[in-house]
């Protein structure tokens, strides 16, 4: 499936949307018959999630986008396992945008926040079980036996008593006419063959042989390619350019003005790019003209001192407990701006005519893309077709629809399909960055030196503004711009602080909302990453200041949280925490409760002067139930390396222009800088959490706590270079 993605619009959802809308979220309630036969390939839909072909092939629809987290294997496996299909023959297909695939609680269709497994795994099981029962019912009727006697296995239904068999393909049409069971029987864990096992991922062969199709690889008939160039200071203005000169160049088809710059459409990317290079583009500064990182840091400090804070959590009375203390311990932490820098730069292919809008996009946010398409073209839902490709990295960036907007504008002007490719410099400059945060923690300790009060003051722009409002709760176009006026509420800025594993009698969490001109949004680990760095560095300071072992201190503080204790003990066991580190090595520990899971991590470093190398990382995780241990381990290993990278990368603005615009300045971890990583998963049986972002949450603190153990130096401002340290 991932080898040659056929963008055949005849198979795409020109099926009437009304029928899909008729099905409540998850497609549970109504009969599938209304749309079952409406396909040109002869396949039968038993519900919004699966089709069966005459040759018995089962196609599972993917609601969630594949950005490397492996969800395009795990969810179909769950459905297939429950259904009893032949997994080796199961195909998958990225669905169109449809309410049937919306998150049942949030009410919109997206991939992100490590929620795909938790949300859709139960739905996959239910849909697979419902379809199984419908197929069995038909077989039971034909065999004239009790349904309970039949066995389903590998796409075949057998009556053991008589040896008669019927294949899925022979049953599907009749099964589709039956009402969908509301509470089908789910298999017991002993009956499941796929879930809980490490499965070879379906997308890996294509990614290994070079045939996988990412957004940037799309080719459709009649397609032209566009390059774009915008003001070096985000949001600046295009003042002038040599339009006749650009259009005179061989191979150039059009020059289209877009927000802050120009798109050149040509027969090849390179032609378009060279036209921009030599097109004499002149820009003027925009809203960020006076924006600098230096000024931002100073502004955040001023706000800490005298800004308005909104209370996000209040337990007990931290304020007066701290006020009454003779000694309250406090520390201020600074978190930098980060770029997503997905390996595949932003891109989108679009073809818009008067009665149809067709997009090919590597998107995490297909509903936002649909909303933007509707808003610009005025076309109704069933005239907007969005093909989702594989994503060369998402990390939250591809939830936004700015790259979709630009492609639609360019195709409309060019009058033909256009693939718009961003250069790396455009991709970084026009990122929606992880916002900078400044964070003060104050604590008062009791006689046992455990905190009796902790107060957090977080100065932060919103993480969620571009993304969160896009729910049924808060519909407000334009869909790819922040809400105006901006809302002060942002749960992500304080996540990981309002809910911790620690029992502290008095807690206060406050946020000062920064209305920044910088384009900011969600970034892998969202608020958990930065806030855990602060909390776990601070807890570590408390432990060390009073001679407590960091592990014992945390075990005491988290004693009431069994899952926290379990991951702490596990990582202590894995790392040999109680024994001395090898000569020249030091260790740091951190704990996190995040993304509905728990994680404890130990990082072991060596320090030479100011150069720090991470040798080993041990991680114990509890995500409730590990649906695929192989994928979970890969997500975790990769996530830890992501977390380590974030210790040394940043985007610094000087006079409104980012200093780093490519990998020569924005320098993530490489092979030789990567540690040996060991993971262990604890199956607590709790509600399923996600593994896409859990691993890196404690990494910054664990690393910095290790640096403290080695040097007695506390790192409070990131990146490491602010303290003169280098990660090598």
């Amino acid at each position: 499936m991932f080898d040659h993605v056929r963008f055949n619009s005849k198979d795409a959802a020109l099926v009437s949307r009304r029928d899909f809308f008729a099905i409540a979220a998850g497609g549970l309630l109504l009969s599938a018959g209304a749309f079952a036969q409406d396909r040109s390939d002869g396949t039968i839909s038993l519900n919004a999630w699966l089709r069966i072909a005459p040759d018995d092939t089962v196609t599972v629809m993917l609601s969630q986008s594949e950005m490397g987290q492996g969800i395009s294997t795990t969810l179909p496996a769950a459905l297939s396992d429950e259904l009893g299909a032949d997994w080796s023959k199961v195909k998958t297909e990225f669905s169109q945008f449809d309410p049937a695939y919306q998150h049942p609680q949030y009410g919109w269709m997206f991939t992100g926040n490590s929620e795909s497994s938790a949300t859709f795994y139960p739905i996959m099981r239910t849909m697979g079980a419902a379809a199984r029962e419908m197929l069995i019912q038909v077989a039971a009727r034909r065999f004239n036996v009790d349904a309970a006697n039949l066995v389903v296995r590998d796409g075949v239904i057998t009556d053991p008593a008589s040896g008669r068999m019927l294949r899925f393909g022979a049953l599907a049409a009749e099964a589709a006419m039956l009402p969908v069971p509301k509470t089908p029987r789910l298999k017991g864990s002993s009956e499941l063959k796929l879930i809980g096992r490490p499965l070879p991922r379906l997308d890996i062969p294509a990614k290994t042989y070079g045939s996988a199709v990412f957004g940037i690889d799309v080719k459709v008939p009649g397609m032209a390619i566009a390059a774009i160039r915008r003001a070096p200071s985000p949001g600046g203005k295009l003042v002038s350019y040599d339009k006749p000169g650009i259009l005179a160049r061989s191979g150039v088809i059009a020059a289209v003005e877009i927000g802050s710059g120009l798109a050149v459409v040509a027969d090849r990317y390179w032609t378009a790019k060279r036209a921009l290079d030599e097109g004499k583009l002149v820009f003027a500064a925009g809203p960020l003209a006076d924006y600098s990182t230096e000024a931002q840091r100073a502004d955040h400090m001023r706000r800490l001192a005298s800004g308005d804070f909104m209370i996000k959590k209040k337990a007990g009375d931290a304020a007066s407990d701290l006020a009454s203390a003779n000694e309250a311990i406090s520390a201020v932490y600074e978190i930098p701006v980060q770029a997503h820098a997905t390996m595949e730069p932003m891109n989108c292919t679009a073809h818009v005519t008067t009665d149809r809008c067709e997009l090919w996009a590597p998107t995490q946010g297909v509903e936002i893309a649909d909303a933007v398409a509707k808003q610009i073209t005025g076309l109704p839902d069933d005239r907007i077709i969005i093909h989702r490709t594989l994503l060369g990295g998402g990390f939250g960036r591809r939830l936004l629809a700015d790259f979709v907007r630009i492609a639609i504008e360019v195709t409309q002007a060019a009058g033909r399909p256009v693939k718009v490719i961003w250069s790396r410099e455009e991709d970084v400059t026009y990122d929606a960055f992880r916002p900078p945060m400044t964070h003060e923690v104050r604590a008062r300790l009791g006689p046992d030196k455990l905190p009796t009060a902790i107060a957090h003051r977080v100065v932060s722009p919103s993480h969620l503004l571009y993304v969160f409002p896009r729910t049924k709760m808060d519909a407000a176009p334009p869909w790819d711009r922040p809400i105006d006026p901006p809302r002060a509420y942002d749960a992500m800025a304080v996540e990981g602080l309002v809910e911790t594993p620690y029992a502290v009698p008095n807690e206060l969490v406050e946020q000062n909302f920064v209305d920044t001109p910088l384009s900011v949004s969600v970034w892998r680990t969202t608020g958990h990453g930065p806030n855990n760095f602060v909390l776990e560095s601070f807890i570590d300071e408390l432990a060390h200041a009073w001679g407590h072992d960091p592990l014992a201190y945390r075990l005491t503080l988290a004693a009431n949280d069994a899952r926290a204790v379990a991951v702490l003990r596990a990582v202590a066991d894995m790392s040999g925490w109680s024994s001395k580190s090898p000569e020249g090595r030091s260790r740091g520990l951190a704990l996190a409760k995040a993304f509905n899971g728990y994680v404890a991590q130990v990082v072991e470093v060596s320090v030479k002067g100011k150069d720090v190398h991470a040798h080993r990382v041990w991680t114990a995780l509890d995500c409730g139930q590990t649906l695929d241990p192989g994928i979970a381990a890969a997500n975790t290993e990769g996530g830890i390396i992501w977390g380590l990278s974030s210790l040394r990368t940043e985007i610094v603005f000087e006079a409104g222009v980012p200093r780093e615009t490519n990998f020569d300045g924005f320098d993530p971890l490489h092979m030789w800088e990567s540690p040996v990583i060991e993971t262990r998963f604890i199956e607590s049986g709790a509600k399923i959490g996600g593994t896409g972002e859990l691993g890196p949450v404690p990494t910054s603190a664990a690393f910095c706590n290790a640096v403290f153990a080695a040097t007695s130096e506390r790192i409070r401002a990131l990146p490491l270079s602010r303290h003169g340290f280098r990660l090598v």
Binding site: G70, K207, Y209, G210, D217, R268, Y269, W270, R424, H670
Partner: protein, 150 residues
Amino acid sequence: MVSLTVNGKQTEIAAEPDTPLLWVLRDDLGLTGTKFGCGIAACGACTVHVNGDPVRSCSLSVGEAAGKAITTIEGLSANRDKALQKAWIAEQVPQCGYCQSGMIMAASALLKQIPKPSDAEIDAAITNICRCGTYPRVRRAIHRAAGGGA
């Protein structure tokens, strides 16, 4: 016109000689397995083989590539039987997968020079950037392929 031999096939390209080979492969020849990641030879996603040696194709003009034997990820293994790629799948290396073509071409070039590389030799040769952090598995796959022979 530039004459190129790509994956064993000779072809004529009507492109300016200073066009990067990367974009000729992708746009003129439709070989999209070789990826664009940075354009400044920093990330390695565009790695191909030229006369058997690794080259970052964003930094090689098509004029300079003329007359040389170019191999892309698509041409690395005619029958999907290459030990390196089998090892890659066995170790489940790719995540998002975008950097992996270049990573595999770099690993292949290393194994040609050093059939059984040490960790230090892998560190020195594989400088490709992977934002998903697949490095530990890349390393394991290289060792696995080395152990199993060519």
